[in-house]
Amino acid sequence: MPASRLDLLDPSEVARLGGIEIIAQEVVEGFLTGLHRSPFRGFSVEFTEHRAYQPGDELRYLDWKILARADRLFIKQFEEETNLRAMILLDASRSMAWSGSPLRITKRAYADRLVAALALILLRQRDATGLVTFDEVVRQVIPARVKSGQWTRIVRGLLDTPDGRGTAADVALQQVTSLVSRRGLVVLVSDLLFDRDLALTALRYLRHRGHQIIVLHIMDPAEVELAGPPEVRFRDSESNASVVVRPRELAGAYAQTVAREVAAWRTACRRHGIVYHTVRTDLPFGLALRLLA
């Protein structure tokens, strides 16, 4: 019954039902009920489809027949069969510990539950899954394993990572690149409130190393649509900078700016073969996971 599927309920309501482990398990159970195959594609012997070649792709998966016939570069994709190495990168900066409404959970809380659910799905598929949390520096590193107790370690790693301060993701991402040596899946969960170019440099490097990259852009609805009292001084807790604005006056321009920023991320990611999704914290976890399917 849809009503009993936590993956489709409001995240803030789901978060009140228990800890990360329980919620993640329930969400995954509900989510997997609707799926019969692994949603994640890796490098397998069972061919599934083609996709355009991206710099960094291994040449051995290049479809030479198409190249010979049409002079176009396509990569063959295969149904997952073997273990996938997945590393989840979670942004734990101060900006993530914020909610635009007391009725909603923070971006960090949302991301924790989403990461736990994702890790559980991957581990159930016998995929080696690891976790890296970072703010200005790398806080937690849990190498990708598939052995039992890995999910508990990942959850413990989430719980042991406090809310950070600033976000120097570019530095942290560069550290991460050295931690993810074997090719696999890299999932970046962040609000992306840092320098886009520097972050993309690190992501491009990972992509160049042959990793498949998924970026989940976590956004609070209040960050998408500006609201507030007639006049307010907004302060950024990371930089301590502030600005006095009239939300009603600036709402239009702000929405356009956010749309431009999202479009810029989306365009840049597409250009480098990176999958990009925006995830609002009021989106049910099941739908967020479905974005990855």
Partner: protein
Amino acid sequence: MTFLHPLLLAGLALAAIPALLHLLERQHPPEAEFPALRYLSEAERQSARRVRLRHLLLLVLRTALLVLVVLAAARPLVPLRVKSVGGGHEPTALAVVLDNSPSSGVIMDGRPLFERLRATARGSIAAAGTNDHLWLVMADGVVRKGTRQSLLGILDSTRVQSERLELGAVVARAIRVVDADPLPAHEVHVVSDLQRTAFGSTRVTRTPRVRVLILAPLARPPANRGIGVVKVADGVATVPMVGTAGTPPGAVTVRVGPQVIARGLGAPGTAVTAPLPQLGDGWWVGEAALDPDELRGDDRRLFAWHDAPAARVRVTGDPGPFVTAALGVLREGKRVNDAGRSPEISIGDRMGAGPSAVGGGTILIPPGDRAMLGETNRALALRGSAWRFAGPATPGLIQGRSELSLLDSVPVRLRYRLERAAGPSGAAAPDSMVLATVNGEPWLVRDSSTVILASRLDTGWTALPTAPAFVPFLDQLINHVGRGEAAISSAEGPVHIEFRTRGSDTLGATVYGPDPRESDLEPATPGQVEETLGALPLDERRFLADRFTGSRRADASGWLLGLALALAIVEFGVATVLR
């Protein structure tokens, strides 16, 4: 532009409220955490110019809105260019001069002229607003200040009066009154028949601040004749005819009591004489009347005269040769009698017997020998006189009271100064009066029963003995002044006679009646009007249309409120749509 409620303009300080609110609001806004500040800063940077323009526009609109509302509340009055357009007028100091002199009582077109004049004056006052300052001036010259209602009440109860209107003087006074008022507009409305004789010597000084509107004569007045001041002399009443020149003669009837003593025809400029009957000693009253015409107020006039035997005169001391000769002439004309044993009047440079002893008076001529002044002054003091002779005084010309006007301008070479005595005798008798002056100092005085001259009646002292007026003066002095009588005088007022008495004695009379100049109804020419009053007369239509036009204003509060409403709509649009 002026305002009906200027004090409300203090509310313009409210216009600062939007700016103050803007500043206050900016200083203490609530603070909130917002991590996506980079998006916010970018959005603000990109829309800063538009937002600033919008803020400025809103500030201007809201300030203008408040200013307009405050201005509308203060009821601004703006000048109107088109006279026919209705509307109010700015606060005006208005004086209405209404001519209710006797001439305004003339019947024209079957209706008293005064009623039409009063209706016009009433219209001027009724058209005034509650913020105007109003005065009403009529023939009595009294400047009445009042509210619109009170002055309308006065107008409604006003009738034709007997006082003559000196138009130039009254209008000049009205102009001074309104000119001194602080209100922004000043007008004087002159509602009169503009009778030519009402224009005296007074010329109005033009004042740019004061508009003078003069109503032109409503119609050509009828020819009129009236009776002037009747004079009685030597048993004959002379009835002068006055009125509009060229008016045909009318029938005049002279009565004494019920008895008609004379009838005659008289035209303005002529006179009808009537011999008075011998009715014996005493005061008598007569009446001269015309057949009724359009102006009834001047068709009847009373007159009075006094029949008395010639005074019994005794000479005391040396009165001089000219007095002696004049007494001889008067004696021959039976104007004086010899005193015999009971003198009534003594005349000379010595004091005679006291009045209590003989029941008569004394005409005292100063002694020729200055050494005798002391004795004369002592005699005056013993008589209880308040006057005494002092040292020599400057020469000059005589100025007499009205009954002694025949003395006017007669030169005096030598005279003593007459001064009031110090001490108990300095208290003047109730009827003590100065009858003639030289250089403003007493020359002929009467104190109780004593008449004192400051000069001897001699050519070495004054030219009076050689003047034609000398014998009549002496007659007047002996038969009237010396007897304590006052002359018969005339004055303006309703037709009647007032006698002055002392005890049981009648001393004089005042004959009241309209000023003879009121009978001439000929209006002044426009040139005369402009020369005297400083403005040309306007016909009734122009007069009514021009009232308050110099200050006619429209109340702009409605326009301002409409504009404020439009601004409010624009402000709402800017505040809600242009975000």
